[in-house]
């Protein structure tokens, strides 16, 4: 079977950068809400990473319009093709929404988001306790949804790469051996 084409290098770099940032930020988020001694420092890191993710995802979404996706392996049928498109859109939506909800949630407490220790971002939501609660709950729901959708994304790629051996992973990989 011929190896499928790859995404452009810039797209692969952005993909793995986002993956590392999102894994770290999700992990820190889940740990910090159960932490007493490290809460303050983890929260600072979490907010900085969240804003970085927002910037990277905006860049990534813009970049996504600069090229077409490489052809999918022949093992992907038309129903699965629809699922691939749907899950990509869903991931983009979640990756954009989650940092924005986090930023708005902090804004609704009347305080600015502070990144890199001292840079204050403008508030993007009014000071409103009810709004804070809604956004705070949404931030948790989106976090768990991200975990589920990422797990499905990784599982599907592994199913193809390991079980079907159709080179699905190499579309996004860096290795010379396809």
């Amino acid at each position: 079977m011929s190896a499928p084409a790859r995404y452009p290098l810039r797209t692969r770099i952005l993909h793995w950068l986002t993956a590392v940032l999102i894994f770290s930020t999700l992990l820190i988020g889940f740990v910090m809400v159960n932490s007493i001694g490290s809460y303050a420092s983890l929260r600072t890191t979490h907010m900085t990473l969240g804003v970085l993710i927002l910037a990277v995802v905006v860049l990534r979404a813009a970049n996504r319009f600069t090229h077409r996706a490489p052809r999918l392996p022949d093992t992907v049928g038309w129903i699965e093709h629809k699922l691939v498109i749907g899950s990509e859109l869903m991931l983009y939506a979640l990756m954009l929404a989650q940092p924005l909800v986090g930023w708005a949630m902090v804004s609704a407490t009347g305080k600015p988001v502070v990144i890199f220790g001292s840079v204050q971002l403008p508030r993007i939501a009014p000071f409103d306790a009810d709004l804070f609660f809604t956004l705070r709950q949404a931030h948790s729901v989106l976090a768990y949804t991200l975990v589920v959708v990422i797990a499905a994304h990784v599982s599907a790629v592994l199913l193809h790469a390991v079980t079907l051996r159709d080179g699905m992973l190499s579309r996004m990989a860096f290795s010379r051996n396809r």
Binding site: S35, Y39, A40, R43, F127, D128, A129, F133, R136
Partner: protein, 219 residues
């Protein structure tokens, strides 16, 4: 800020353990003396702090209470020099004596007093010397430390809790203006975490009318 001379605990674990030691036993309605003495044996810092707190009984009202930071902050100047500071709001008046009978006596007395004129506290900064404890609010600083009179807080009115005022604020001791930094006291992070969890729970609750209604307090 609290109306205590020192804080009873110097760690989140100590605070947590104290809450259990002080828990009332259902049969007696009182804390278990054995649990409390075991706790104090394990936490000599709390035993020492409580002895000091006992020497400073609360004043009759809110208007004549001192309210202190207890924890230590650093004031940082343009050259980056960090000076340890603790502060107190020191009352400038006597308190109206509370009328006995209601559970809101202290609040009602404050509301009546503020109607007849503004209440004032002086902001007194205490500057720490090298070697003074900065990460442990159970330890007082020596009484001869330099103080700076930094201004007057004047309260001219009082409002019932409602949307958009103090009710909806999450007080976080780590939200600080430029030039003021927290010390390495572990209770800063613990308070920030606990207040955030409490704010989330509070904002999600159905709203009930506040227990103290300013306009219902009679002269």
């Amino acid at each position: 800020m609290l109306n205590l001379p020192v804080f009873p605990d110097n760690s989140a674990q100590g605070f947590y353990d104290r809450l259990f030691a002080q828990k009332a036993v259902p049969t007696t309605g009182q804390p278990d003396p054995a649990a409390m003495s075991a706790f104090l044996a394990a936490h000599p810092e709390t035993a020492a702090a409580m002895a000091l707190i006992k020497k400073h009984p609360p004043t009759p009202g809110f208007a004549d209470s001192s309210f202190s930071s207890l924890m230590t902050f650093f004031f940082v100047n343009d050259a980056g020099v960090r000076t340890p500071v603790r502060w107190s709001f020191v009352p400038q008046q006597q308190a109206l004596p509370p009328r006995t009978g209601g559970k809101n006596d202290l609040f009602d007395a404050l509301i009546r007093q503020i109607r007849s004129g503004p209440l004032q506290w002086r902001l007194i900064l205490t500057v720490g010397a090298p070697g003074d404890p900065t990460a442990d609010a159970t330890l007082p600083w020596p009484s001869d430390r330099r103080t700076v009179d930094a201004g007057v807080l004047t309260l001219t009115g009082v409002e019932t809790d409602k949307a958009g005022n103090a009710r909806d604020i999450n007080f976080d001791p780590l939200v600080l203006p430029d030039g003021i930094e927290p010390s390495e006291d572990p209770l800063f992070s613990a308070r920030s975490a606990a207040y955030a969890a409490s704010y989330r729970a509070r904002t999600g609750e159905p709203k009930t009318p506040p227990a103290v209604q300013v306009d219902k307090v009679k002269e």
